[in-house]
């Protein structure tokens, strides 16, 4: 058990390091700006209409505090951390006076849901097909799938999402191309609402899944090809173990281990993809919130979404890391 405890300890330390470095990067970026961010934000907000002078003055004061521009550099740095740890990013400028935390809390379930479901589907499907393709190397259908995967995998999420949007929005309009659910439905667990959520999720999820399946497929296929040459596989074949059992318990079981590590490592990239996919399809998650916040010049919201993203992705990676020993029992020993 001490082996497992040590493993968990190391993973937790790594998690804290990611959060620490991530937040510091956010701090350096926000404080290295050559332009005064406060005046920038105020001119962005006031350019849309008339605002009372005392309201501007109040805004300027709260912004100065929000940016942490008062006091010595050490005080500024500590104030920044305090703000992040208490998850207090002040009121949103673009949706005044709703707090940034509320806006993020509203968007987070959409992103988490879309990301979890599409990543799981892509990972399972890609590994299953990739495993089969590595094992049955002569199958024509699986070879063709390999070619398709090679063509899909390098395309960035934005381009694929745009192609799906054009295909299902202009050429063959059968699916909803914008939003998270039909506008006027009450957001409760009625069958209509669930159905509408599912329908709206198809296209964003599809663009995440298509690219994801391609990359897991290619990875798994080459991993399986390597495992096949191992002695224990040859031995099992000679011992007359049925080929389906060899594939699942001997080959794929071992090839899955690096694929789990791969999932943890690529979570950040998948999150990037979700951000941009959400924007393309107007999905009401963190991605749309982030991009709209930039257009509206809402500093607190941009900073809030960025830090929550770093935190969220690190938590996801930690969760995968902690599940890892279930698949690879060697971790408990070493």
């Amino acid at each position: 058990m001490s082996g497992y405890a040590g493993y968990v300890g190391r993973r937790l330390a790594q998690f804290l390091l990611v959060v620490f470095i991530g937040i510091n990067i956010a701090y350096v970026i926000t404080h290295a700006s050559p332009i005064d961010p406060v005046e920038q934000s105020i001119s962005a907000v006031t350019s849309f209409g008339n605002t009372a002078p005392d309201a501007i003055e109040q805004m300027r004061r709260s912004l100065r505090e929000l940016y942490g521009l008062g006091g010595t550099p050490v005080q500024q740095y500590l104030a920044f951390w305090k703000r992040i740890l208490s998850a207090d990013f002040g009121p949103s400028l673009s949706a005044f006076p709703t707090p940034v935390g509320t806006l993020i809390g509203r968007a987070l379930p959409w992103t988490a849901g879309l990301l979890t479901v599409s990543t799981l589907i892509a990972w399972v499907l890609g590994n299953l097909l990739g495993g089969l393709a590595g094992y049955y190397r002569q199958s024509r259908g699986l070879k063709l799938m390999g070619v398709i995967a090679m063509g899909l995998h390098p395309i960035p999420y934005y381009i694929l999402a745009m192609l799906l949007l054009i295909l299902f929005g202009f050429i063959w309009p059968v699916l909803p191309i914008s939003g998270g659910a039909t506008m006027n439905l009450p957001q409760t667990l009625t069958p209509e609402f669930v159905w509408s959520v599912l329908q709206h999720a198809i296209l964003p999820a599809l663009s995440l899944i298509l690219i994801g399946v391609g990359s897991w497929f290619l990875g798994m296929r080459s991993l399986v090809a390597n495992v096949l040459a191992e002695d224990y596989v040859v031995y099992a074949e000679l011992a007359g173990v049925r080929s389906w059992r060899i594939l699942t318990s001997y080959v794929m079981r071992n090839a899955l281990v690096p694929q789990v590590t791969g999932l943890a490592m690529s979570l950040g990239g998948i999150f990037n993809g979700a951000v941009i996919t959400e924007k393309v399809f107007g999905y009401p998650g963190l991605g749309s919130l982030l991009v709209d916040a930039v257009y509206a010049g809402d500093y607190g919201l941009v900073l809030g979404v960025t830090t929550i993203s770093i935190l969220g992705v690190s938590v996801g990676v930690l969760a995968i890391d902690l599940l890892y020993p279930l698949l690879d029992p060697r971790v408990k020993v070493s």
């Binding site: 790594q14 390091l17 990611v18 470095i21 991530g22 990067i25 956010a26 970026i29 926000t30 290295a32 700006s33 050559p34 332009i35 961010p37 920038q40 090679m150 063509g151 995998h153 390098p154 395309i155 960035p156 999420y157 934005y158 381009i159 745009m162 192609l163 054009i166 202009f170 290619l218 080459s222 090809a225 390597n226 040459a229 943890a264 490592m265 979570l267 950040g268 990239g269 999150f271 990037n272 951000v275 941009i276 924007k279 982030l290 991009v291 930039v294 500093y299 941009v302 900073l303 979404v305 960025t306 993203s309 770093i310 992705v313 690190s314 990676v317």
Partner: protein
């Protein structure tokens, strides 16, 4: 190196296809030097014309010739990807070589930082960067900050190669004959790392160009310099899809997809060729 390339050409269909795709894209980018119009001028040709013999890829609503605009765009986009790849290669090489060769606590410390950079979601960080820089953002600045993040994954790959090289006999031999660490790394190990360096360069370009297109489409870069993402941004600003000016979006998209698939195929085929087992398979299937 010549034999390596010749074998690649002979046995790897992916390599041949990738080479053709990249060559077409490169040719298009070289043509930018012969453009009759300067890259940033607008309303030099009649707007909104469909593809014809005079204007091969049509013209935009801003009165630009899509063909020449595209050649500037793809040149700048490739230049961007190349810069990111070059700078991040230097970091990846240094970290990978030192970490893999030294091992011990140096390795553990470097890999902790390394994994951190792999995990952090870059897009929100880049958006935050654009948000504080606004109009001051330049393509070089963006390239450098992406290079700061783009080395980590490949450093891990290079490290694993060097770790296995360290166990080989020639490493011991060169150490006993009095070579310094730096000499062992640069003279003995680097040649083995070069092929993998090539394939990671291609993959890194795919990655950075993808991010740049994404940022530019949202308008989060210097939109006055023509890039592929910038072209799509302006097309979206003029609602080109709704107005039926499909050629404004279609041709940049096709060009950039060709670049992506071409670079990726080059990387994949070189990777597969380094692995002796898959090389044997392939030769077996070809004969």
């Amino acid at each position: 190196m010549v034999v390596f390339l010749r074998d690649l050409l002979r046995y790897r269909a992916e390599f041949r296809i990738g080479l053709v795709l990249v060559a077409v894209v490169l040719l298009l980018s070289v043509l930018a030097s012969f453009s009759p119009y300067p890259p940033d001028s607008v309303y030099v040709v009649p707007p909104d014309l469909p593809p014809s013999l005079t204007y091969w890829f049509g013209t935009t609503s801003r009165g630009q010739d899509v063909f020449w605009q595209l050649s500037f765009a793809i040149r700048n986009t490739l230049l961007f990807g190349g810069t990111v790849a070059l700078v991040s290669r230097l970091v990846a090489l240094a970290v990978g070589l030192v970490s893999g060769y030294k091992g011990g606590w140096i390795d553990r410390a470097l890999m902790s930082v390394n994994d951190t950079f792999i995990v952090i979601p870059l897009l929100p960080v880049l958006v935050l960067f654009y948000f504080v820089m606004r109009d001051r953002i330049s393509w070089l600045m963006l390239a450098l900050i992406m290079a700061c993040f783009g080395w980590a994954y490949d450093a891990r790959l290079i490290r694993s190669v060097v770790m296995s090289l360290r166990q080989r006999e020639f490493t011991q031999t060169s150490l006993f004959s009095g070579m310094s660490t730096r000499q062992v790394l640069t003279d003995e190990h680097l040649p083995y790392v070069v092929p993998i360096l090539f394939s990671t360069t291609m993959n890194n370009m795919v990655w950075s160009i993808g991010l740049e297109v994404t940022l530019a489409v949202l308008g989060f870069t210097d939109i006055n310099i023509p890039t592929i993402g910038g072209m799509i941004y302006w097309a979206n600003q003029h609602t080109a899809m709704v107005a039926g000016i499909w050629w404004w979006i279609a041709f940049p998209t096709i060009a950039v997809i060709m670049a992506f698939i071409g670079l990726f195929l080059l990387a994949v085929s070189v990777n597969a060729h380094i692995d002796p087992r898959s090389r044997l398979w392939n030769v077996g299937e070809a004969s």
